[in-house]
């Protein structure tokens, strides 16, 4: 009778039996590799995340967004007003027209 824990591990790694070479004690090999998978999964997901780390990261990317907005606003302000741009283009057109 399988324990709930073992059954869960087998369900999670249901891809594994299909790739095992069909030689030797297959059942024993499968059990051992399932145990390895469970230990690796457990260890990777149990690494503790320091308290407040996520909030600090949130604050950092929020500040990053603010900075981007400010840069964009600054860039926009530095652009010439449209009458000035239009005047430049009209001058080019007028000069070319006179040359002809």
């Amino acid at each position: 009778m399988l324990s709930d824990c073992t059954r869960q591990i087998k369900d999670k790694e249901s891809w594994l039996p299909g790739v095992l070479p069909q030689e030797g004690d297959v059942e024993r090999e499968l059990t051992s590799l399932l145990a390895t998978a469970a230990l690796v999964r457990g260890a990777l997901q149990a690494i503790p995340v320091p308290e407040g780390a996520e909030e600090r990261s949130h604050a950092r990317y929020t500040a990053f967004i603010e900075q981007q907005w400010q840069d964009r606003r600054h860039q926009h302000e530095q652009q010439r007003p449209w009458p000035s741009t239009l005047g430049s283009w009209l001058r080019v057109v007028f000069t070319l027209g006179r040359r002809r």
Binding site: L16, T31, L33, G42, A43, R56, R60, Y61
Partner: protein, 232 residues
């Protein structure tokens, strides 16, 4: 807003300027990226820095180059790649090899567990919560070939399906299964070797004189000298 909105939908919203959608992605993946960075650096401060920078880069790239994220339904592989590149750029990744301490009961329990997945005794979660077991696994993963390590991280850290890993690695599903199988065999062998060395070092008579502050022989953690990468 749907409770479990897909990553693709959230990415589309970020592209349209919805910052709250990025907040959802951040909550969904911060812990995983932190753990990935910690696994590589072994330093909580560095790992936090790398994880935070990963999300700033991701935000920038999602706005400027949203087409970069397209091979997988999950954003995890893409974030993992950004974090990996940051680690390489900053040379923060710790080289494989080091010293892991395991006490005798833990060493025995892990050995038995790897052999037969016993129905009795500590569960994988209980074992994995012990710091020395995390270090044992971490060291073993750090010695895997790069493609196997990535597949292991995607599967066991990112919880990606075989299909999603295949999409992210641009390989067939069969190739991914084979890669993961090889990785598990290598990890088991590596961990068993470390545990055997631990037992051997415990059996050896100690040449050190014990000071009163030291524990008795049976309680002394078994210090395992792991092979340095260049000695393999």
């Amino acid at each position: 807003m749907p409770f479990d909105e897909s990553d693709r939908a959230l990415v589309a919203r970020v592209g349209a300027g919805d910052v709250r959608a990025f907040g959802t992605l951040h909550r969904r993946y911060y812990d995983k990226i932190y753990r990935m960075a910690y696994l590589k650096t072994g330093d909580p401060e560095d790992a936090q820095d790398i994880a935070s920078e990963t999300f700033c880069r991701a935000l920038k790239n999602l706005k400027e180059k949203p087409y970069e994220f397209r091979h997988c339904d999950s954003l995890y592989p893409w974030l993992h790649r950004i974090a990996h590149n940051l680690l390489v750029d900053r040379a923060r990744a710790r080289p494989p090899g080091g010293t892991v301490s395991l006490d005798a009961p833990t060493s025995d329990e892990v050995s038995t567990f790897l052999e037969q997945l016993p129905d009795e005794g500590p569960s994988p979660q209980e074992l994995a919560e012990r710091h020395e077991v995390q270090e044992l696994v971490r060291e073993a993963i750090s010695r895997l070939p790069a493609d196997q390590a990535t597949a292991v991280m995607y599967r066991f850290q990112g919880d990606l399906s075989i299909k999603e890993i295949a999409g992210a690695l641009k390989r067939s599903e069969g190739a991914v299964k084979s890669l993961l199988h090889r990785a598990l065999v290598t990890l088991r062998r590596d961990m068993q070797q470390q545990l055997a060395e631990s037992t051997a070092s415990a059996a050896r008579p100690s040449t050190h004189t014990h000071t009163p502050s030291q524990k008795t022989e049976g309680e002394v953690p078994h210090v395992i000298r792991l092979h340095q990468a260049d000695q393999r």
